[in-house]
């Protein structure tokens, strides 16, 4: 009897589940979601939820999700591509885009239904948002409060440069910087945070100062007597992996405004650096929370069955993992892997099996909320997988490991989802997300400041994988910035350095 009454009471308080949303309804859902999120200790930046149209969504796509971006043809190309594939129906648009900023901006698509909007709010405004605020990579690499200001600064600065120096010059500089964008991060140093006020204040003095430093470095006052001794000194004294930084500080002939553009691209690259390394975790975390929060609302009776059916339909689409032989297979779906891992962590905490106790003695049976928060805050994809991928999940996904050596004419199955294979599968999957295995290892080893100013880079192959064919093209861009000879060397089997690419091409080059 009592139960019945309670049920009817709850029914009257259920939120409207009509497909069409209004701002009032969104606000109601938002309030409920926020309440539940707080309950689960999700710490977020203030949300700024913006409703946009499909066309605006394509704009957002084109500018790689930056709400304000400088003008460049590649963004135009991206937009045209997106528009084409969208109009032909080859691709749906994302339901949302969320930006790591404070306040945290989330874009909701106008044509989403009300349940979709609720899903998206739980996913982006509470899932991603809390991830941005608490994950250690984001904490140390990005400053959410200043990014919008910085983007605005860079947009204006580049627009100014275009007016002063012409679109072509600026475009060529940006092209060159984009080609090296992945090499604009100091992986081992904590970066400085960027804020607009400082940037503006420092920008001009920096331009002058930098130029004077460069001038000092390249001073051509003859010092002939000591030259032979000096030749032994390497510059830079240690290999530099942050190519853009090196260019910004040391390129001999760059103009001050070009240095600033190099800096801008470098800073933006740094901003995206954590995102590249936390795709599985970030999406997994967001999916885990939209799933958990909306189920919580359902348990409270706040959302209806109809709502849940639509929600679950979308949710399952998002976290589906096609198998390797499916025509839809295009690698492991980060949403699927991440979501299932967080669900699995919760399961291990709440209902551990013998196996779990053996593999995860420290978390089996612990407080699940503490555990998922800890996992979210302190890991990146690689370490997260190697720490938390459970045998059960490997079995569920039927993961198997393929070893492919280009020298052989076969590929070999290294390990599968069985007792002997768990460790190896996990280790290999984790290293699949290790950025240093994915991005090429290329470092500046020498700038011949006393001689012909030639710049030498060293490519260190990972697993004997060659440097891709585009190297010559990229080198042209590097040459544009450095303006003297550049070359890439690679160590051969017998320990010598072999030039694998150079610019200008060898014919034009004077003998060393």
């Amino acid at each position: 009897m009592v139960i019945n009454i309670k049920k009817t009471l709850e029914k009257t308080t259920a939120l409207n589940d009509c497909p069409d949303w209004t701002f009032e309804l969104l606000a109601q859902y938002q309030t409920e979601i926020a309440r539940v999120a707080k309950n689960y200790r999700l710490d977020t930046y203030t949300n700024q939820i913006e409703v946009i149209t499909a066309e605006q969504m394509m704009d957002a796509y084109a500018s790689i999700g930056m709400p304000i971006g400088y003008s460049h043809w590649t963004f135009g190309k991206k937009f045209i591509q997106t528009e084409q594939t969208y109009k032909r129906g080859q691709m749906g648009l994302a339901y949302e885009i969320v930006i790591n900023s404070d306040p945290c901006i989330s874009y909701l698509m106008e044509e989403n239904t009300l349940p979709m909007q609720a899903l998206v709010m739980a996913h982006a405004c509470y899932g991603h948002n809390s991830f941005f605020k608490s994950n250690y990579l984001f904490k140390s690499w990005t400053d959410a409060s200043s990014i919008i200001d910085y983007l605005l600064f860079s947009k204006n600065y580049i627009a100014q440069c275009e007016q002063k120096y012409g679109i072509d010059e600026v475009e060529a500089t940006l092209d060159a910087c984009h080609a090296l964008m992945n090499h604009g991060v100091d992986r081992y140093k904590r970066p400085q945070k960027i804020s607009l006020d400082e940037e503006l204040k420092r920008q001009e003095e920096r331009a002058e100062y930098l130029q004077s430093q460069v001038n000092a470095l390249w001073r051509t006052v003859p010092d002939t007597k000591k030259k032979t001794d000096k030749k032994q000194h390497h510059f830079p004294s240690e290999p530099q992996e942050n190519i853009l930084y090196f260019i910004e500080k040391n390129a001999p002939l760059l103009k001050p405004w070009q240095r600033e553009i190099v800096r801008i691209v470098r800073k933006i690259s740094q901003y995206f650096y954590p995102q590249k390394q936390t795709q599985v975790m970030n999406e997994g975390w967001a999916c885990f929370w939209h799933y958990t929060i909306l189920n919580h609302l359902y348990d409270e009776g706040l959302v209806t069955d109809k709502f849940m059916l639509e929600f679950l339909h979308s949710h399952t689409n998002v976290v589906a993992q096609p198998e390797y032989n499916s025509k839809f297979y295009s690698g492991i779906n980060p949403y699927a892997l991440g979501f299932n891992m967080f669900i699995d962590i919760r399961r291990i905490c709440e209902n551990p099996t013998e196996e779990d106790r053996q593999y995860f003695p420290e978390i089996a049976g612990s407080n699940w909320l503490d555990t998922v928060h800890f996992a979210m805050e302190n890991f990146k994809d690689e370490s997260f997988i190697s720490q938390y991928l459970s045998p059960k999940l490997i079995r569920d996904f039927k993961l198997f490991h393929i070893h492919d050596d280009a020298k052989e004419n076969f590929v070999e199955i290294g390990a599968i989802h069985n007792e002997q294979g768990y460790q190896q599968v996990r280790q290999n999957l984790a290293s699949q997300y290790n950025l240093s295995n994915l991005e090429v290892n290329i470092q500046i080893i020498d700038a011949n400041i006393d001689g012909d100013r030639a710049l030498t880079l060293r490519y260190t192959p990972h697993n004997d994988i060659e440097l891709g064919k585009s190297k010559t093209e990229v080198l042209k861009h590097l040459h544009y910035l450095w303006q003297f000879d550049v070359k890439i060397v690679q160590e051969t089997a017998n320990g010598d350095d072999e030039i694998i690419a150079q610019c200008p091409a060898k014919e034009d080059k004077k003998g060393d």
Partner: protein
């Protein structure tokens, strides 16, 4: 905790700048694609934009990435048949397992060319960049022929249909205020005086009566000022303004005698398409008149013009005569911008060529903005070309060009309409 912002009404074309940058950068490729596409169009089909194809490799944004070879370890889901140690033969010429981890959304597209659409405006701009209509400046001033009626203020006289009520009533109010103000002032004074007298305890019968009479007469005078007067009336004024006419007619003249084969006609067609597209950028309404001729000329429709075959000799002057006749009948050169384009393989009855020359000089060229003659032939020039060449020396609005193959058309067209060209000598 959360702010909602409705951005749907914000400008949506945030990427327009970037799109323009993109077009700007790939202008050369796009232009090539545009001029290739011209071949597949009908003469008057100008409503559509165009699909542009750019080879993907030209668009690449190179970055350092991992290439071929080496050892790769990958983990895949959904094992249904494999055990550790199984070896699977690689298919011949295996490309490796793809280069590293990409965004799932980025990869998956094949090596197609990059295809996209440009709008009609963008298409025409690219097609005719740096081109201008010859003689436009010079002729425009002395040929202001069409008049447009435009509003130009108000005037005191006019027909009742043009009365502007608001202006008229404003005038009426002003006049009434002006004509009654002194009387109203007097009236006010009288009324005040009357009130004072009435408040006074003593009787002022006589004075009161006088004042009352005065008040009455003032009121009457005020009432007599007419509510509206012919003086108030204002009429909307119209003036005639000369405007350059936006109508153009394009005469396509073509030799269809036996010597003109289909391929030659196709080439001529392309030239007409270009001309039509080009004119359509400047003029709102364009008529196209197709005149084909062998020994006799005939006005025909587009299809017949291009696709019906006739045999016989060639008398080019017949077409010029017909053109002149049609101009006189239907296209008054005061109202129409007349353009002519003649295409031929150069064959003409030798005695007729001087005729053509004099027809052009005396009748046609004075009326036309521009007349172009293209000769599509692999052979040597004949009499028609030689006579026409003489005209070019004296007439700036006449040009001749020689086309040998399809690829010549676009360059020749550009040459004809080049900006600031010293009009084909």
């Amino acid at each position: 905790m959360a702010n909602f912002i409705d951005r749907r009404l914000n400008s949506k074309n945030k990427s327009t700048v970037n799109r323009q940058r993109f077009l700007r950068r790939y202008k050369n490729q796009i232009k090539k694609s545009v001029s290739d596409a011209i071949n597949q169009r009908g003469v008057t089909d100008i409503e559509s934009g165009e699909n542009i194809v750019i080879p993907k490799k030209d668009l690449s944004e190179p970055i350092f990435h991992q290439g071929e070879g080496g050892i790769r370890d990958r983990v895949h889901p959904g094992n249904d048949q494999f055990s550790p140690g199984d070896r699977i033969k690689k298919p011949p010429k295996q490309q490796g397992q793809g280069s590293g981890q990409g965004d799932a959304s980025d990869s998956g597209e094949g090596e197609d060319d990059f295809t996209f659409s440009i709008s009609k405006e963008e298409y025409l701009n690219l097609l005719f960049e740096d081109l201008e209509l010859p003689n436009l400046e010079k002729n425009q001033l002395d040929k202001l022929i069409e008049y447009k009626t435009v509003r130009s203020g108000f005037c005191a006289e006019g027909v009742p249909a043009n009365i502007d009520i608001v202006k008229s009533l404003q005038g009426s109010i002003a006049r009434r205020i002006a004509m009654t103000s002194s009387k109203r002032k007097q009236l006010k004074e009288c009324q005040q005086a009357l009130e004072q007298l009435q408040e006074d305890k003593h009787d002022h019968v006589q004075e009161e009566r006088e004042l009352k009479i005065q008040i009455e007469s003032l009121k009457e005078k005020i009432a007599k000022v007419p509510f509206i007067d012919t003086f108030d009336l204002r009429f909307r004024n119209y003036a005639k303004q000369a405007v350059p006419t936006s109508k153009a007619v394009m005469f396509c003249l073509m030799d269809v005698s036996g010597s003109m084969d289909q391929a030659t006609k196709e080439m001529a067609k392309r030239f007409y398409i270009l001309l039509y597209l080009f004119l359509s950028r400047t003029y709102k309404n364009i008529d196209v008149v197709y005149i084909r001729h062998h020994t006799q000329a005939k006005e025909v429709d587009e299809h017949e013009f291009f696709y019906s075959q006739e045999t016989g000799g060639t008398i080019a002057s017949s077409a010029l005569e017909l053109m002149d006749k049609i101009i006189n009948e239907r296209y008054n050169d005061n109202q129409w911008n007349i353009y002519g384009a003649q295409a031929s393989d150069g064959d003409n009855w030798a005695d007729d060529s001087p005729n053509c020359k004099s027809l052009l000089i005396n009748k046609i060229l004075p009326k036309t903005r521009y007349f172009s003659y293209i000769e599509i032939t692999q052979r040597a020039h004949q009499t028609l070309w030689q006579h026409y060449q003489q005209i070019t020396q004296t007439h700036a609005n006449f040009a001749i060009r020689h086309i040998k193959e399809v690829a010549d058309i676009y360059p020749v067209f550009r040459e004809l309409f080049k900006k600031n060209a010293k009009n084909a000598a």
